[in-house]
Symmetry: C2
Amino acid sequence: VTSSLGPLARGPLRPPSAAARQQATQRCDALAKPTGALGRLEDLAIWLAGCQGACPPHGIDNVRAVVFAGDHGVSRYGVSAYPREVTAAMVHAFLSGGAGVAVLARQHGAKLRVLDIGVDSDLTDLPIEIRAEVRRFKIRRSSGAIHLEDALTIDETRAAIAAGIAVADEEIALGADLLIGGDMGIGNTTPAAALIAAGLGVPAREVTGRGTGIDDPALAYKKTLIDAALLRAGNRVADPVAALTALGSADIATGVGFLLGAARAGVPVLLDGIVSVAAALVADQITPGVVAWCTAGHRSTEPAQSLALDKLGLEPLLDLGLRLGEGSGAMAAVPLVRSASLLLGEMALLSDLAP
Amino acid sequence: VTSSLGPLARGPLRPPSAAARQQATQRCDALAKPTGALGRLEDLAIWLAGCQGACPPHGIDNVRAVVFAGDHGVSRYGVSAYPREVTAAMVHAFLSGGAGVAVLARQHGAKLRVLDIGVDSDLTDLPIEIRAEVRRFKIRRSSGAIHLEDALTIDETRAAIAAGIAVADEEIALGADLLIGGDMGIGNTTPAAALIAAGLGVPAREVTGRGTGIDDPALAYKKTLIDAALLRAGNRVADPVAALTALGSADIATGVGFLLGAARAGVPVLLDGIVSVAAALVADQITPGVVAWCTAGHRSTEPAQSLALDKLGLEPLLDLGLRLGEGSGAMAAVPLVRSASLLLGEMALLSDLAP
């Protein structure tokens, strides 16, 4: 399936360390607690140890999140409760620290970066250096309206995936212990749900959710639109890169590359909501094994996200009814990843207990 | 129902501020996000604002947890996978920072205090000043085996409740923004489940769980023992203080007082597992309205905890299969409470967004 990736294709992924996982499992059982009493935090600690190839895992001090912003042709067709101009406005909110994920990133001492991958604006009101940095990986203004036309050209898809890999490499060079890919884009649950429908082979009615909070008539129309997109894409969706081209968007394709880059470098990732999980589904189709480097941060209210998580074999850490996107659900779960690491490293052993 | 509390009884509780809740609800809707997109974090922010009488709520900087340690007569009767000597050994682990909740408290910058309320040891191996401090509120060595005898005398129950109120008052005087009561005591899920069965009017089979991980025969025996305790206590359990006396323990009664003290002072509490939630159920029977000052930190694997949470109308923040006790599940949820407060206070408003 990787042939369509062209020069971006690489060999199979290295899996997380089975030896470190084994050591971590044994250490969990030796901690001063009943066997299994830390529940999912034990699974999380074992996963981290495997990703790091170290038991106990080292600290998760350098958490780095990147928000991939982009507009979507479908946002002109009534699939969102908000106008597309909100996407560009929110880029400013990420930069000024007022976006939800920015508040959480400050709380958790995480780095946050926003990139305009496909915003339907030139962001000319930004200061010149900031504007250059934010637009450094820009692919195009908006992506195509997927019920009428392909989201991207194949070259744009490859360029977006390459951009995502490059962004991951940059973040990893800066010392990332844990990566989060976030999304911003009015209308983006439509291509994300379409990609998940294509990946799972299910119709629109199983994947379509209310996104920003659309009403029943808009929800019904959104389903029609996704089914039209799936019909238009036809058999091409068997190839994940072709599926991104037909049904995705520049920002989602960049998110796919970001996950490929993280997995190739062996850096763990916390997934967020429907857009992030759609990217993970596609990335794991492109290069099987990507999912082994991923943990699901939260369960979104979008039905497609839960379906894709099931397919990937992931159970989210949080289930709080979040549907903000931006990477916010993953960012909210960061303290749990740190807790898992610290518990495995710092708890006393049963054998240490005073008699 | 408060008559049995004797001189500890007081008038009705002040509820959280409806005005601040209303302000917080309006502010949630004005933040730069789709309406309701922060899910349960919005409910949490509104609850905090109500408890503090302030919108946005001030920071949750001073989180203070107190572990009430005690042994239980039933631990001589095969209801735990661990010997009762572990309780005293774990007091050392709390003091040395190696207990699970101690690791989490360090991570979250929370204060942690351990008190010997009913440990079946004089802890003579502790340094004299520390020993005096840890035993300052000690009620007795172990509590009675509830299937054979009352856990406490009525005077001990009242003394334990008074101790819990005094401990809460001390923590609040030190500036607590958020309180957590933790438990340590081999066998303690048995009296906790018995109290919940009594409070809900259900038989042992609905409330009995595996605690530290007992096998099927031990589980069957634990049910028998709880039913015997309920039969022995009879109609006395209609009075919550009498129920504590018959079925509880010194440490659980102190935990009840701790919650009464917090609610009387209007300081919010994060509940933990079965022992903490049993205490909340009893405290809310003693003084209706205590639950309004509580949020549930996590869902334990003990069935009684979920039943009691349903009765109290609380939905936990985390559901990670934790069953460690110690206050660990509540402590793991502390960052979410802080997130809720920060999001309400620091996110941009929709009206601030660039056009």
